[in-house]
């Protein structure tokens, strides 16, 4: 048996299997979503500096200088926010959420391709067509299998989450459905169902 000592050698060995399996995974992803879903990054960053500046009564030159400083401050604070430093209005905001989308499915596809190729090698088959067909099927079926589990898990979670929502009790506070990013996202999502 060949020894694999580097990633390049690993790639050389599984190249065809991984590539074909990725096609299978891509077909599976497209079948499920009817489109290619790019990764989603959710960042709940808040910065009130521009609002304060808008309300201020400075002259045009002073306002221009302040705009420059505020933009710089916003950029620096955003960078710190990305690094995990939370203070001020961002002290209790959500962590950064990253949903892989199609990348996650391709990752599953690559894994399935490696498994398919390894299994074929173990049986002693050298025919390249069998590698191609098996990898394609493995990529598609592996993804469908995992998606089925994810779907079931989410369907089961709905009951639990409904119970959680029922356990909540509202306390008096005025409603402001304006600024936070997740509210905007939720509104967009709601609109997309109606369409």
């Amino acid at each position: 048996m060949e020894r694999i000592i580097s990633l390049v050698e690993l790639w050389d060995m599984f190249e065809v299997a991984i590539l074909v399996s990725l096609v299978g995974a891509l077909i599976g992803h497209y079948k499920r979503n009817a489109c290619i879903l790019l990764p989603i990054i959710s960042i709940d960053y808040r910065f009130d500096g521009f609002k304060e500046l808008h309300l201020s009564s400075h002259g045009p030159i002073m306002k221009g200088v302040l705009w420059g400083f505020t933009t710089l401050k916003a950029a620096v604070l955003f960078f710190l926010f990305l690094l995990g430093f939370r203070f001020g209005e961002n002290k209790e905001t959500d962590p950064i959420l990253f949903e892989l989308g199609v990348l996650g499915d391709l990752l599953i596809g690559a894994g399935a391709g490696v498994i398919a190729k390894s299994t074929i090698s173990l049986t002693g088959t050298e025919n390249p067509l069998s590698v191609i067909v098996t990898s394609l099927l493995a990529g598609f079926a592996g993804l469908s299998y995992i998606q089925k589990f994810q779907q079931q898990s989410l369907d089961n979670a709905t009951i639990e989450y409904q119970e959680k929502l029922d356990r909540t009790e509202e306390y008096g506070e005025s409603t402001q459905h304006t600024s936070p990013s997740n509210e905007v996202a939720a509104t967009h999502e709601k609109k997309s169902y109606k369409e």
Binding site: R32, N33, L37, I40, S42, E92, D94, P95, L97, E99, L100, G101, G104, Q147, Q150, Q151, L154, D155, A157, T158, Y161, Q162, K164, L165, R167, T168, E169, E170, Y171, E173, S174, T175, Q176, H177, N182, E183, A186, T187, E189, K190, Y193
Partner: protein
């Protein structure tokens, strides 16, 4: 234990649950909604727990004060 939420949080939770309940929505969006629901709910639950603890401590102190008098 009841979890105390503001009307804004309640609205957000309902929105996220609606996404989670929709079987025709993509898995990615449903999972994202689930994560956001968890974040809001857990934050409110922690706050409610602290609030309940503080209230019970206050009651105990009041009872002790009454006992001394």
């Amino acid at each position: 234990m009841k979890v105390l939420v503001s009307s804004k949080e309640k609205w957000q939770l309902e929105q996220h649950l609606e996404v989670l309940n929709n079987p025709y929505e993509s898995i990615a969006k449903r999972r994202l909604a689930k994560s956001k629901f968890d974040l809001i709910y857990n934050r409110a639950a922690t706050r409610s727990y602290v609030c309940t603890q503080t209230q019970s401590k206050g009651k105990k102190l009041a009872q002790l004060n009454e006992g001394e008098h």
